[in-house]
Amino acid sequence: MSSGDDHVELLQGTLDLIILRALSTMGPLHSYALATRLAQVSDSPLSLNQGTLYPALIRMEQKGWLKGAWGRTEANREAKFYSLTRAGERALTQQTERWRRLAGLVDKLLLEN
């Protein structure tokens, strides 16, 4: 775990987008792989623990964006694999668009200053 300036607080709502994007790029992943992937892609350590990941997964599953199914890993361990549903794909498009607009707006404001 990191501290001080390296610590990146997740913006409200961005975790969903990150998970959707990871599943879209990597295909079905279990929660451990997802957590590892999120740690890999972040340049600085992400303030994410399992206490954040699991509620996000169940929330998105209940919304119908993800579908969880039990399967076997390469090492023959059982794990629950999450994959995107059609609704999840649509949500990814919408969330990406929303994020771009928001980021563009913030960038613009920062450049002006």
Binding site: Y32, Y54, P55, I58, Q62, K63, T73, R77, A79, K80
Partner: protein
């Protein structure tokens, strides 16, 4: 939405999701462990490292549960089960609290049901939502104009937004069947379209049709199911029979199905032959109008068209229609009185329900608090295991909800029974026969009200004590004091206890007041042997609403009626056992009119009042007026105390004589000789709208005699009324009451002969409300008795709740202070000191409640006296005051008795046991 449903399902059945979560976390840990082993750790080390890396498993599960389900809902099945067990475990609380809440809910449902009959009535007809009533208001006088036949005929031609426009005219007539007695029935002379739009299907024969309305059409009648069953003994051959309705004859052509009483509460239908009626503007008979909104038309659209039609008629007949404004209203609203005053009454009734429920639920809350306090240790353990405050509050709310639901079921059943038995009688006593759409069965609205009241009552009774008991639970846990008696009854409960003890004092005072009223009505002395007199009201056979103007026709009708009544009297007097027959405008002991009078003799200054009597300073006095037939005093066997009684000549229009009663002599004349005094009404007609306006006084009347008090006044009025009798012929009375003096025995045995003779004399004479004179106020007695019973129940409930509350508080106090009491006793403290120390606060609360309640009672009594009976004798007599104070002392005693068991328990505590208590 989808997520909400899934969360809801997961909340109610969490088992599968819980197993899934545990499995997933196990798999996650296993994968982490594999990774660490692959990196070179041994298995044991890798397992610990995986757990460290994962973080708190339980916390992760908790957070996932928070996202997955509605936590407040999760434990409900269990909480409800626990609530059910609590009901059985604490039967005393269940019975007392449950009954109290059931009573509050029952009262609430009954009130909502009755009020909704008036505020949002529904018609049980297939086209009920489209059925409307049309009326015409005189904007200048703010009264309804009912002579609108002219307008109806115009509307029928021009209006497009309204169809099946029809009218009816009410008349009560005697139905006379060959060889049968004459009995009044409610007749509607109605347009044939009424049958169409009110689903009127005949059981036999046919309904009325437009052809029956032609002037030359034969007279036909359709009879209602009830009349057919009772008056025609379900005669299958009734069609074609000729019946007499008042003075007219008609052939029965149809019998309606059961339940058909359109337009309001009618038994017999005749065609409305408009061509025979006066059709001039604002003339003719008083009628009511119904119509159907055309498909797709709103009431606003219809109103706009009707207003335009109204303007058109007003331009054609400006003299009569300048101020007339036609209105369209939902049909069932016709019996609803409108005006802001009624709304205020309605809201105050709702406010009463809320206050009653809040009071009772607050008291039940107190009991639940005491119960929860005894389970504090259990709550502490749950908090220590991670249960949030919200979770504990939800649990206690669920427990209260079980009690509340049981109470709601009992309340609903009781309300249904009360509405069906007393509700109908109560409404009929006040309103007369009820309209066909008045259904006193439980409506969805009433059931909704029951649900709302239950949830609200439960919220007060369950959440309030839960918040109180869980307040600072975490802090107490850390201080290691939770469960050891750190809980206290705070300010809220002090208020609740004081309020309930105050209510315990107030309700009996109300009972006392209501009983005084009831006794006043029952004890209203008629001044003669009223139980030997048969009374019956006689109605003349004129269509309702017609102007009794003094035209030739009216005079002739009056003369005919006088002759008829005289004939009836003669035949009745000839009956064995009948001692006399007389007539009066009002029955003795019922409500009489009051009028302001002036005396010809100035009581204060002596001597006659100046000629300009109305402008002088002559004191105004109120007298109670009784119009009687000259034989009245003789038939009542009333002795004439001074002067003489009435003679037949006194009833002539120019006689101008009056008789006063003893109370009049005592109050108005202050004991002076009444005979020869002059008296007149201050206002000859109606009193002027503004006190400053001039109004002509009436003619002078000479007092010719004095009689004892003979039941003049109003039954609920306090004190004696000053009675002033005027002689008149019965045909000029606005109500004709006949009184028959029967020798000994029950005068009601004469009832069949009275009916037979009346029918023989004139079949159109309608006899209503035949009863003994001493039973004239039975209706008022019944209603007052009902109120009294309700208040007695409320009163008993307040007392039981008070006692239960006080008992619970004291038991709780003793339990909480067991250790302290033990130490005090061990150290040799006297019993009195221990009692004082422990019970000072509860006793103070009880005493405050009694003081507050007594103060409210006295203030209320003072206000009633001040506003209702200014200047009259004291309403709250010394005896009354003594009763209330004595009751307060008794209450204190009873409350002290409630302290007895906990006190004994406290004093019997062994010091060694007390010290081991923790």
């Amino acid at each position: 939405m989808r997520r909400t449903i899934r969360r809801l399902l997961s909340s109610l059945r969490p088992g599968h999701a819980e197993r899934e979560l545990a499995r997933e976390i196990r798999s996650h840990l296993q994968l982490l462990e594999d990774q660490y082993v692959a990196n070179g750790m041994d298995v044991e080390e890798a397992r610990h490292a995986a757990q460290r890396a994962f973080g708190g498993v339980e916390q992760t599960k908790e957070r996932q549960r928070d996202a997955r389900m509605f936590r407040w809902l999760a434990g409900w099945p269990m909480d409800l089960k626990l609530g059910g067990r609590m009901l059985v475990k604490y039967p005393g609380l269940t019975v007392v609290g449950g009954l109290a809440m059931a009573f509050a809910i029952c009262i609430g449902i009954v009130i909502v049901q009755v009020v909704s009959l008036f505020t949002s009535p529904t018609l049980p007809l297939s086209q009920g939502t489209r059925l409307v009533e049309l009326r015409s208001m005189d904007a200048a006088e703010n009264v309804q104009e009912r002579k609108i036949l002219h307008d109806v005929l115009e509307w029928r031609q021009s209006l497009r937004s309204l169809t099946d426009l029809g009218a009816w005219r009410d008349s009560s007539r005697n139905l006379v069947i060959a060889d049968g007695e004459a009995r009044p029935v409610s007749v509607a002379e109605m347009s044939a379209s009424g049958f169409r739009l009110a689903d009127g299907e005949p059981l036999m024969g046919r309904v009325l049709v437009e052809a029956d309305e032609r002037a030359a059409a034969p007279a036909v009648a359709v009879i209602g199911y009830h009349v057919w069953r009772t008056r025609f003994v379900s005669d299958p051959q009734v069609l074609g029979r000729t019946v007499q309705l008042g003075h007219e004859y008609a052939t029965v052509v149809g019998v309606m199905r059961e339940g058909f009483e359109f337009p309001v509460a009618h038994d017999v239908w005749l065609p409305l032959k408009t061509s025979l009626l006066d059709q001039a503007p604002r003339s003719g008979p008083a009628i009511s109008v119904f119509a159907l909104l055309a498909p797709g038309v709103t009431i606003q659209t219809a109103q706009a068209e009707l207003t335009a039609a109204g303007r058109r008629i007003a331009s054609q007949s400006p003299l009569t229609h300048q101020h007339l404004e036609p209105l369209v209203r939902p049909y069932a609203m016709m019996v609803v009185p409108d005006g802001p005053g009624d709304l205020a009454i309605m809201y105050s009734i709702y406010f009463f329900i809320v206050v009653l429920l809040a009071l009772i639920s607050g008291n039940v809350g107190l009991l639940l608090f005491a119960r929860a306090a005894s389970r504090e240790a259990d709550l502490v353990v749950r908090t220590a295991l991670g249960a949030s405050r919200g979770r504990l509050v939800a649990q206690m709310f669920a427990e209260a909800l079980v009690l509340g639901s049981a109470a709601a079921i009992a309340g609903l059943l009781a309300a249904d029974l009360a509405l069906r038995t007393w509700g109908v009688v109560f409404l009929e006593t006040n309103l007369g026969r009820l309209p066909f759409w008045f259904d006193l069965g439980l409506s969805p609205r009433a059931i909704g009200a029951a649900v709302l009241l239950t949830v609200a009552g439960t919220a007060i009774a369950g959440i309030m004590p839960a918040l109180k008991i869980t307040h600072g639970m975490g802090h107490r846990l850390r201080q290691n004091s939770a469960g050891s008696g750190g809980l206290q009854f705070g300010g809220v409960w002090t208020v609740v206890i004081v309020a309930q003890v105050a209510a315990t004092v107030i309700f009996p005072a109300l009972v006392y007041w209501e009983q005084t009223q009831l006794r006043r009505v029952q004890d209203f002395d008629a001044g003669f042997e009223a139980e030997h007199y048969l009374a019956v009201q006689i109605e003349r056979d004129a269509p309702a609403g017609d102007d009794p103007t003094a035209d030739a026709a009216t005079l002739e009708r009056d003369a005919r009626l006088s002759a008829t009544l005289e004939d009836l009297r003669r035949r009745l007097v000839a009956q064995p056992g009948v001692l006399g027959v007389t007539f009066a405008e009002r029955l003795p002991t019922t409500t009489h009119a009051q009028k302001i009078i002036e005396m010809g003799y100035d009581m204060d200054r002596g001597g006659p009042v100046s000629a300009a009597g109305s402008t002088s300073e002559a004191p105004l006095r109120v007298a109670t007026i009784a119009g009687v037939e000259p034989s009245y005093f003789d038939v009542l066997d009333a002795p004439v105390l001074a002067g003489r009684g009435f003679t037949a000549a006194d009833a002539l229009p120019n006689a101008r004589v009056a008789v006063v009663d003893q109370s009049f002599v005592d109050q108005v004349l202050q004991g002076r000789n009444a005979v020869g005094q002059q008296v007149r009404f201050r206002f000859a007609g109606r009193a002027p709208a503004n006190p400053g306006d001039a109004a002509a006084p009436g003619d002078w009347y000479e007092v010719i005699g004095v009689v004892p008090d003979l039941g003049v006044g109003a039954p609920t009025q306090r004190g004696r009324a000053a009675g002033l009798y005027f002689p008149d012929t019965p045909s000029r009375f606005d109500q004709i009451h006949m009184m028959v003096h029967v020798r000994g025995g029950d005068p009601m045995t004469l009832a069949p002969q009275v009916r037979d003779l009346a029918t023989a004399v004139d079949p159109s004479l309608r006899l209503i409300d035949m009863r003994r004179v001493n039973e004239a106020n039975d209706d008022i007695v019944w209603v007052l008795g009902l109120w009294l019973r309700i208040t007695v129940v409320l009163s008993s409930l307040a007392l039981v709740l008070s006692l239960a509350g006080i008992y619970a508080v004291l038991s709780f106090t003793v339990a909480r202070r067991t250790r302290e009491i033990g130490v005090r006793v061990a150290l040799g403290a006297s019993r009195q000191r221990v009692i004082l120390a422990v019970f000072r606060r509860p006793l103070l609360q009880v005493a405050s409640g009694i003081v507050v309640g007594t103060a409210i009672v006295f203030t209320g009594a003072w206000m009633i006296r001040y506003t209702e009976f200014p200047g009259s004798e004291r309403d709250l007599t010394v005896q009354g005051m003594a009763t209330i104070i004595a009751y307060g002392i008794v209450m204190l005693g009873v409350c002290t008795l409630g302290c007895l068991v906990p006190t004994r328990r406290a004093l019997n505590i062994e010091p060694t046991v007390a010290l081991r208590a923790e």
